[in-house]
């Protein structure tokens, strides 16, 4: 492997890792607080991608306008998600995980169907934002500018999310509910409201991720399922209820993937599934998941 290949692999790996983190963070947050493994998460992510296309159109936009479009896609996705949480999830929290698995899976079918209904089955494409559609030259290696753009946006989200979760009263409330919802309720916290807000927050991230992915992929109704399984791999390797774990796992898996592509490329398509299987069998709580998680995933 040459130095150029190495640089490209690092940048692409970290960039893909941040993208995966954007998708997986919401999945992990929702599991940690609501206790629901949301099989419809990929569906919402896909909705975000198509919304970005709807709002911003197919042509290239200036970066700041592209970011506004992505934010708008995230917000609309999140509003849809909160309506679903209030209308559909709220009466279901007493049900067991079997019902939840099946319900969120059915919901993912609804998301796929809605995308087909609204945007049709033919792939749509979104252009890269203007002036980040080329490549930088770093150490003689050509690095896609959009990869760096994703890293910057990802870092901004990481900083914002950590401030929100670990530095504000809101974050404390969320952590209290995640730890023990009954105790939190007894302390006068409106748990229903927190659930809705956290679901909204998680799915803002999914919508943003969808918007960021939009220029990199031809958008089809199968987009959700593909990224859902990758996001599962990330949250399970990181530890289902740990957002920092998801970040570490996302970067690690992103790097693993990009280095395999550069070296053992035949193995690369399997890396996520193998990682997922090995971690679930050997260390089901993942890298940073709590011991208590073992009881919850079973």
């Amino acid at each position: 492997m040459t130095l150029q290949e190495f640089v490209v692999a690092v940048v692409n790996g970290v960039s893909y890792g941040f993208l995966l983190f954007l998708i997986a963070a919401g999945l992990s947050l929702v599991f940690g607080v609501l206790g629901v493994l949301n099989f419809a998460h990929g569906g919402f992510f896909m909705l975000g991608a198509f919304l970005a296309y709807q709002i911003g159109g197919a042509a290239g936009l200036p970066p700041w306008r592209f970011l506004l479009v992505v934010a708008a896609a995230g917000i609309v996705t999140s509003i849809v998600a909160m309506v679903v949480e209030v209308g559909l999830f709220r009466p279901m929290y007493a049900r067991d995980h079997l019902d939840w698995l099946l319900m969120t899976f059915s919901l993912s079918l609804v998301a796929e169907g809605a995308v087909r209904e609204i945007w049709g089955v033919n792939p749509v494409t979104v252009s890269f934002p203007d002036s980040v559609d080329g490549a930088f030259t770093v150490l003689d290696a050509k690095v896609p500018q959009y990869s760096v753009f994703i890293i910057i946006v990802g870092l901004a989200v990481v900083v914002g999310l950590s401030l929100l979760l670990f530095r504000t009263r809101w974050g404390q409330v969320i952590q209290a509910v995640a730890e023990d919802r009954w105790m939190a309720q007894a302390l006068g916290i409106n748990v229903n409201l927190v659930f809705t807000a956290v679901f909204g927050l998680g799915l803002v991230l999914a919508g943003i991720a969808g918007g960021m992915v939009a220029p990199t992929q031809a958008l089809t109704p199968q987009l959700g399922a593909f990224f859902l399984i990758q996001a599962f791999a990330v949250v399970i390797v990181g530890g289902l209820d740990s957002v920092p774990g998801a970040l570490i796992a996302a970067i690690l898996l992103g790097l693993l993937n990009s280095f395999l592509v550069a070296t053992l490329s035949w193995l690369a398509p399997y890396s996520f599934y193998l990682g997922l299987i090995v971690v679930l069998l050997v260390r089901p709580q993942g890298l940073l998941g709590s011991k208590e998680l073992l009881r919850r995933v079973s």
Binding site: L37, M92, L98, D99, L109, V110, G113, A114, E117, L274
Partner: protein, 346 residues
């Protein structure tokens, strides 16, 4: 606290009028006889004879869904990866016929069952110790692993899949024509269904239902729960392998589509639609699902939207599916009927 007297006046289920009683069994037996007659008549009925391909697909879907329900409905294991074994069966046929040049369907069908069962044995040995979410996600991961392998590796035909599957016959019976193949599928499906019915009605079946209710409690009966889960996983895998092989011989083509998440989720969704707590729930669900798909796909590209909404309605409100609804209506009608009332008491 509930006093003894109060409890005695609670409605009693599971008696003569309930799902387990002899009257219900008579109804079920009547339904089965009618269904068998209908299946045999389909290629000669005026309004179905033009659609034999479609009805063969339905029979395969019924077989596949009933196998998946051994796990979902009877053991409480949600597998999103049941298409792994469907694909194993289909690819066994595809590889043996198109690459190995095997013409004998007897051999390839048996091989598909064995490969489906063996693969379930290997996968199950690794994953039956997990439960709930971890189990569901693991089945999904293995499915994706296999799908990627089928899609990427040229040995398995890659993106093009395996064409060149030819249908010859079983022993002296020529199965080239679709009508004849339909009867072959019907007979094999019925035999497999009958065997699965015996399994769920056996002591083993009772143990599975106990595991579904409370697996940990079964440990305290001195029963090694994991081995039972593995056993039923292998059975479901073997039957799914058969379904995959039949599917390959119907389409005369095998592709990684048999290993898709959609194909994998279908039997689970069909089971919910029909009612997971009934043996014939998945069959009714498969029939309804395929029929709805056929109806909606002709009119809209987004039929998954409607099937998704329907399933959510069932999970939220109807919990026991279509058959559950029918059983309830039947029980109600009998309760109003005075003759049914006397028969229905302890």
């Amino acid at each position: 606290m509930t006093a003894v007297g109060d409890a005695r006046s609670e409605p009693v289920t599971g008696t003569e009028s309930g799902p387990a009683g002899p009257a219900y069994r008579k109804l079920q037996a009547g339904g089965v006889v009618l269904a068998v007659l209908a299946v045999l008549a389909i290629p000669s009925l005026p309004f179905t004879s033009g659609d034999v391909f479609f009805w063969t697909e339905i029979l395969i879907a019924i077989l596949f869904a009933t196998a998946a329900n051994l796990l979902v409905g009877y053991t409480g294991l949600v597998s999103f990866g049941q298409a792994s074994f469907l694909g194993a069966g289909a690819y066994t046929v595809g590889m043996l016929v198109s690459k190995g040049g095997f013409e004998s369907m007897t051999f390839t069908l048996i091989a598909a069952v064995v490969v489906g069962g063996l693969m379930a044995l290997v996968m199950g040995a690794l994953i039956v110790r997990t439960t709930g979410l971890a189990f569901a996600v693991l089945t999904l991961a293995f499915l994706e692993l296999l799908r990627t392998m089928a899609f990427k590796e040229r040995t398995f035909g890659g993106e093009n899949g395996l064409s060149g599957v030819v249908r010859t016959g079983i022993g002296p019976i020529d199965l080239v024509s679709l009508d004849r193949y339909y009867y072959c599928v019907a007979v094999l499906a019925m035999v497999a269904m009958a065997m699965m019915w015996v399994v769920v009605s056996s002591p083993f079946g009772l143990t599975l239902r106990a595991i579904r209710d409370d697996a940990e409690r079964v440990d305290f009966l001195g029963v090694p729960v994991r081995l039972y889960k593995l056993g039923v996983f292998v059975m479901a895998g073997a039957v799914s392998g058969l379904a995959g092989a039949l599917d390959a011989y119907l389409n005369l083509f095998v592709s990684s589509e048999t290993l898709s998440l959609t194909r994998s989720a279908e039997p689970v969704l069909m089971s919910i639609l029909g009612g997971t707590s009934f043996f014939f729930g998945p069959a009714v669900g498969a029939l309804t699902y395929e029929w709805l798909q056929d109806l909606l796909q002709a009119r809209t590209a987004s039929w998954v939207l409607w099937i998704g909404l329907g399933l959510i309605a069932i999970i939220v409100a109807l919990r026991r599916g279509i058959v559950g609804l029918l059983a309830q209506a039947w029980a109600l009608s009998r309760r109003r009927d005075p003759a049914g009332r006397t028969e229905g008491k302890e």
